[in-house]
Structures are given as C-alpha cells and as structure tokens.
C-alpha cells in the first residue's frame, strides 16, 4: 500500500507502554500455565521434554514477543487528521487502513491510563454511529496534543461552513 509515509507516527514512548503491558501479560500467563503444570501435570508425573518445559517455553516466547512486537507495531502505526477525514493505518501482519469522514464523528474522548499519565501520553477515541468505536482509537499521543485534537474534532460547525 502507498502513502503511509505521509502520515504521522505515534509518540515513541507508546512502545514503552506496550512493552510494560506485554510484560504484565507475560507474568500473568506464565503464572497461569505454571499453576496448571504444578497442580495437574506434575502430580501425575506427566512432562513434555523435561519438567517445567511448558511453563519455561511459554515464559520465553511471551517475553521475546512482548519485547519485539511493540517495536514492529509502532513502525506500522500511522495516523493523520485531515480537513475532511481521520486516517488510521495499522497492523504488522494483518494490515488495516481506516478512514473516518469527519462529518460522521459523533463525539471524541481522550482517555489516559496510569501508565500513560506517567509518560505524559493520552489516547484519543473517536466515536461514530457505527458502533465499533474501538476501531478508531489513537493510543499514543502527547496529552496536550490529544486535548487539542479533541477540541478540533468536536468543532463541527466550522466543518459545516466548508461543506
């Protein structure tokens, strides 16, 4: 696909957030698999390759994945607010390019998680009457920029004059 380069990347710090959430997922997943292996497999002396191999492999794969994937995801994440539309390009293997006509925007939220607040970032969430609002979320923006964008996107009257 073309012209992705003309669009804006996210704030680089978003990679840190993605890695941290990835790490948390890794820990939770490893713990869950570990408990399963400890309570079900180990007492019955069932082991794949060596005892604790499944737990160890899960931990290793999830760890590597949560370190490397955010970098890739960041590379392919691009967005831009244009005069009449909002564009969002994303996806490493499964690519998607979303186009939301500004005349269809119902309302716009900014949202910050504790991690985002710590790094001074915010998410912009765009809602249309098409109910899947989750499709139009821009996750890593500087908090101030997100506020400005929210204000700008909410100003429908100006858009109306132009139309």
């Amino acid at each position: 696909m073309t012209d992705s380069d003309a669009l804006v990347p996210l704030h680089p710090s978003v990679v840190i957030i993605w890695r941290i959430t990835g790490m948390i997922t890794t820990v939770v997943l490893t713990a869950a698999i570990g408990v399963l292996e400890w309570t079900i497999l180990a007492p019955n002396a069932i082991a794949f390759v060596t005892p604790w191999f499944i737990t160890g492999a899960t931990a290793a794969v999830a760890f590597v994945f949560s370190i490397t994937w955010p970098g890739l995801a960041y590379r392919f994440w691009r967005w831009q607010v244009q005069a009449d539309r909002v564009l969002i390009h994303k996806g490493v293997l499964w690519r998607s390019r979303s186009l939301i006509p500004r005349v269809r925007i119902q309302h716009v939220d900014t949202r910050t998680s504790p991690l985002q607040r710590w790094l001074g970032l915010a998410s912009l969430v765009i809602y249309t009457a098409g109910t899947r609002g989750a499709d139009a979320e821009i996750p890593g923006l500087e908090a101030e920029e997100a506020e400005l964008l929210r204000e700008e996107l909410a100003r429908l009257e100006e858009l109306d004059d132009r139309a």
Binding site: M1, G91, W94, R97, I100, P101, R104, T131
Partner: protein
C-alpha cells in the same frame, strides 16, 4: 419541558396492565415454586403471599407510570421506590415496535417499545397500551410528518412542525404472504436440518419420539428386547442386515419429515399473515400467530438492506430480505437487530421490496463488477492450507492418505465458485457488495449512511496485491462483520474508498 397545549395530557397505561403483569410475574414464580417442589400445600401458601405482594406492586407501579407526547419529546415518568423522569427527543426515535402475546391479543392490548439510535437497550417500554393507542403512538412518533431533520445545516430547521393526529388511510400494501409462501420458507430454511439433529439427539437421550412403535412394525420381533430404539437397531444389524436397512430407512424418513414439519409449522406460526405496508416516510411490518408483532420504522433511517440466499433457496430462486435499522443497541442479539423485510421472496420480487425501502433505487439496473481475478488463487490457497497439513499428518500413519491430495481438484472448483459469488456495484447514491459461497449475502448501502471505511489486508492478500473494503454503517453487530467487498485489487480498493469518502463528506452532517 415544552408547553402542554401543543401535546397530549399525561396518560396512563391500559387498565389491564396490572392484571397482565401480575399474571406474567406469578406465572414465572409459580413455575419456580412448583419446580422447587415444596409440596402442593406449602407451594400454594407461598404462592398466595407472593401473589398479594405482586398485585400491590404492579398496581402501585401502574399508578406511578405516566407518559405524554409533546411537540418534540416523549416524556415518561415511572418508578415506585426510585422515581424516574425520562425525556426522549422525538427526533431520536427510530422505531416503535408493538408486540402482543396471546393473552394480550385476547385483551386487545399491546406492548409498545420505543427504540432510539445508540443506547444499549430499549429506551422506553409501554407495557401495555390498547391496540388503538399503540397504533396512534406509532403514527405520531414515526409516521408521516414526524420526520425529524436529517441534515443539520440548511433547509430543514422549520420543517419539524409536528402532526399529532394521524392522517387517515395512508398506508398502501406492499406485500402480504400466504401460509403457502411461509410453508415454503419453513421447508427451505436451514432450521429444518438443525431440528432433525435436535430431534435425533433428544430422542436418544429422552426417548420421546414414537420410534419403538415404528420399529415394532418393521423389525423382526426377536431383536426388540433392547430398551432404546438405537440399541434395537444395532442388535438387528448384527443378525439381519436387510431388516436393519429397512429400519434405518424408516427412521430416517420419519425424523426427516418430523424435523421438516416442525420447521414449516414454526415458520408459519412466527410469520403468520406477514404484511408489509408503506407510506411516504414509513415502512410497517406485522406478523405472528401466537405473538403478534407490529414494527414501524422510517425509511430514511434504514442503514442497509441485506438479501440472504442460502444455497437451497438460491437453487429455488428464493431469498430472504432484512433491513438494518440503527434503532437497536449493541446489547441486543444480531438476529433481533435486523428487521425482516421479507421472510421469503421470489427473485423477481426483490426489486419491488427494495423499491419499497429505497424508492429511487433500481435493482434491475445494477451492473455487478467482479473482484480481482487473483481472488480465485486466494480462495484456493485458503482451502489448500487446510488440505495440505491434514494430508501430511495422515501420510505419516498411512501412505494412502496421499490420495487426499485429490481433494485439491474440488477445492479449486469451489474456489472458482466462491470467486463468482464476490462482487460490488454502484447504482446512483448506493453501493452494493456481495459475498458468501454457501449463503450468498448481498448488501445495499446508501452512501450517506456510511459511518467509516476500512481497508483490510491479510498477509496472503498483501502478497497477492488484494484488499477487502469494509463499509461500516450504524447498527452493525459486533459479532458479525459489516458489509464488505472481498479481494479487490489493492489500488482499486484504495481508490474506491477514496471516492466513497469524498461522497460521504459531500452529504454533510447527519445523525
């Protein structure tokens, strides 16, 4: 709140409301009490106490419930402990549905559900009002003259003069289905197959079908000792293969006919006397034998129309038509959010049905364009990706499994057939897409109803230079994908998205 002189006075629900509600509540409770099997005496005592409590509750809530239609809103005041006042702007009301169960039909009352755009659930339920009141509400809330301004800028500001009295005799009949039509719908429904399966499974578990009686007639008596029909049949198979085949044949026919009959009866009862009416602004469907449903919705609020052709109906030249209205929130099931426009339609009737929703749309004039020819290759790869690993895995067990590779031939034929089912078209201010090999689904989407556009590529599509264009409108369910055009050439798809986006912007603001 607005000046009362322009609207109705505060109104109560129909006086039968407390009676009906107590009945329903008590009915549910009675089942519970007896199911818990306290014994008849205790059950009755508990029942009586609860009945008095329920009666008091429903009478108070009946007295507390009042509603009123004003120039610009529907006001509803209700609540026994927590009192609520709800204001529903008339411009936001999408549908008014009427639904009457058997008891309600006898009492000539109906439940009115007010649906608005957005919001998770039904906005207000008037349970119950008289049938005349239900019709009056529907006419003044979604009927002619109630049309809210769709476009915020420009001409429509003054055009909202509300008409509180329904103009007489303004509906024209589009189509009424006979029990015969509905019988065909039931006979060709996929549900028949499901029912046959359910009957078989249920009979094995609970033995409620007269299978023993049937088998007594066709199997030699010495094998009928076994307790279940299936066992008797297996017993026979070991001794007398001819009798076994006869028994199997009889059972197959029997379950086939039973499943089919239930499907036919079910469809006829559900859609009994299906009637589609229209006037300038509104479509109205009513159907049902035991539970009678009447739904009205503004034509301007229809987000898209879906034509569904499962393979059996397709062969017979039949289809089902549904409309997507934005009135039902995402909390409802997908099947409840689509409104049936025609449970069964002959192919040549499709144009008339579509015309009743989109008067300027000409179905016979649509020129379909195929997806990119490379789509065939992707459709084949998709199937080969299942066949090849399975063959490889089984070949480890037996080399004969390599013969499974022969299934690549039908896979290629299916891929070609699948490709032929893909397509898209433009016709005036409408965009059409279709997909689906076993069940073909065709969507008609007015461009001004488009909310967002997505261009999606799987890794395989990327290699082949293909992309899928998804067209998002309001009301599309989470669990089912939006109308989409699969496997367009990626540059072509990007241009199509660009063109549609420009057109959407041109139609201006809309809610």
């Amino acid at each position: 709140m607005t000046a009362p002189e322009n609207g109705d006075d505060w109104q109560r629900l129909h006086p039968a409301t407390p009676l009906l509600r107590s009945f329903q509540l008590l009915y549910a409770f009675a089942l519970g009490a007896f199911a818990a099997s306290f014994g008849i005496g205790l059950s009755l005592a508990i029942l009586l106490t609860v009945a008095i409590a329920i009666a008091a509750w429903v009478i108070i809530s009946y007295l507390r419930f009042r509603y009123r239609v004003t120039d610009d809103s529907l006001l509803v005041n209700y609540g026994v402990l927590f009192r609520q006042q709800r204001v529903i702007p008339r411009s936001r009301i999408q549908n008014v549905d009427l639904q009457a169960g058997m008891l309600s039909q006898i009492l000539r009352v109906t439940t009115a559900r007010i649906e608005t755009a957005g919001g998770g659930a039904t906005e207000a339920t008037l349970h119950v009002v008289s049938r005349e009141e239900g019709n009056r509400l529907r006419t003044i809330l979604v009927g002619p003259g109630s049309e809210a301004p769709q476009v915020l800028h420009g001409e429509t500001a003054g055009a909202e003069a509300a008409v509180l009295q329904p103009p007489p005799g303004h509906y024209s009949l589009v189509r009424r289905l006979t029990p015969f039509d509905l019988g065909i719908a039931g006979a060709t429904s996929n549900r028949a197959g499901v029912l046959i399966g359910a009957l078989l499974g249920g009979d094995v578990l609970f033995d409620f079908m007269p299978t023993d009686w049937l088998l007594q007639r066709v199997l030699p008596p010495q094998y009928l000792e076994a307790d279940a029909a299936a066992n008797a049949l297996l017993e026979t198979a070991q001794h007398d293969f001819g009798a076994f085949l006869t028994g199997l044949f009889v059972l197959t026919i029997f379950f086939g006919i039973a499943g089919w009959a239930i499907s036919i009866l079910g469809t006829v009862a559900r859609y009994y006397d299906f009637t589609l009416r229209r006037n300038n602004g509104e479509l109205q469907v009513s159907y049902g034998l035991f539970t009678r449903r009447e739904k009205g919705f503004r034509r301007a609020r229809v987000q898209n129309v879906q034509i569904e052709e499962p393979i059996l109906r397709r062969w017979l030249g039949l289809a089902t038509l549904k409309v997507q209205t934005a009135g039902y929130g995402p909390a409802m099931k997908a099947s409840e959010r689509m409104e049936v426009l025609a449970p069964i339609a002959r192919r040549r009737e499709i144009a008339a049905y579509l015309g009743s929703v989109y008067s300027e749309f000409d179905w016979d004039d649509v020129e379909w364009r195929p997806s990119h020819p490379r789509a065939r290759r992707r459709m084949f790869i998709r199937r080969a990706l299942v066949i090849l690993p399975v063959t490889a895995a089984l070949s480890i067990l037996s080399l004969y499994a390599i013969l499974l590779l022969l299934t690549l031939v039908p896979a290629w034929l299916l891929a070609n057939a699948h490709y032929k089912h893909l397509g898209h078209a433009r016709s005036g201010p409408y965009v059409l897409v279709r997909e689906g090999l076993w069940t073909q689904r065709t969507y008609v989407v007015p461009v001004r109803k488009i909310q967002a556009l997505h261009l999606a590529q799987t890794p395989f599509q990327r290699r082949l230079g293909l992309a899928t264009l998804q067209i998002e409108t309001a009301g599309n369910p989470y669990e089912w994908h939006s109308p989409r055009s699969i496997d367009l050439g990626s540059l072509y798809a990007a241009e199509m998205m660009e063109g549609l986006a420009a057109e959407v912007t041109g139609t201006g603001l809309m809610f």
